[in-house]
């Protein structure tokens, strides 16, 4: 199963990004192979429509869950119809490696 995590930087020590649509990087974590992939977010500085565009990017990687700090109003209904689970973690000091560790337990 693949899980997307929003990250502010492109290393495992980076912190969880509190925004979904305009986060710095998406981390695609595969729970079976334990592989980690960093994708820079092309919608980082988008004026509008960053959320739906990011959903499209993440959904094209077949993720089943997304971990982020916040999801916008346009995104919730989209992800509900795509059957992707949203996990809201309001802890900006958590690093990507800590979240991956939590997912592994």
């Amino acid at each position: 199963m693949k899980i997307a995590i929003t990250s502010s930087g492109n290393s495992l020590e980076s912190k969880l990004d509190q925004r979904f649509g305009r986060c710095g990087f998406f981390v695609i974590y595969d729970t079976e192979t334990r592989g980690v992939e960093f994708i820079p977010n092309p919608n980082k500085d988008a004026q509008e429509g960053a959320g739906p565009a990011s959903v499209q990017l993440v959904a094209s990687r077949n993720v089943e869950k997304i971990v982020s700090g916040e999801f916008g109003i346009k995104i919730k209904s989209l992800l509900d119809s795509l059957k992707i689970q949203m996990i809201i973690l309001k802890q900006p000091e958590k690093s990507i490696s800590e979240i991956i560790e939590m997912l592994n337990n």
Binding site: V67, K83, Q85, I88
Partner: protein, 153 residues
Amino acid sequence: MSPRPFRIRRISNPPPVSGFKPYGNKKSGIKADSIFLHIEEYEAIRLCDHEMLNHNQAAILMAVSRPTLTRIYARARQKIAEALVMGRQIIIEGGKIYFDSEWYKCKACGCFFNNPEKDEEVKECPLCRSSNFSGYNQSINELEEPVARCNDY
């Protein structure tokens, strides 16, 4: 005076298909237009005629008033009847709607999560696998009070 804005209808799941096509045309040459059944009308039919709820219960699930639900339902039946009698194609789309899922809060790691697979029950927090979580917002299944007041089981 401007009219009151109408409420956005809550839909639990998108329909499994996006429409229905007629086949076996008896009268050749009739090329009727499609009927656009709104998703809210589909949901009204699903709640009232498939889940066998009464209009009051269905209205609460769709977050509209009972008379509004009855109007949506009446429109849905009229459209379906039109499609059946006139041999028209039904396309399910449109309507001012939002999809809804239930939210949970994990007490171990403090995260919030929703459950997109409504048929499956949540057993553990998806992040820390703790079973110490609770429902976050009011469950849409809490129908007891308004239904009891109406006394129309």
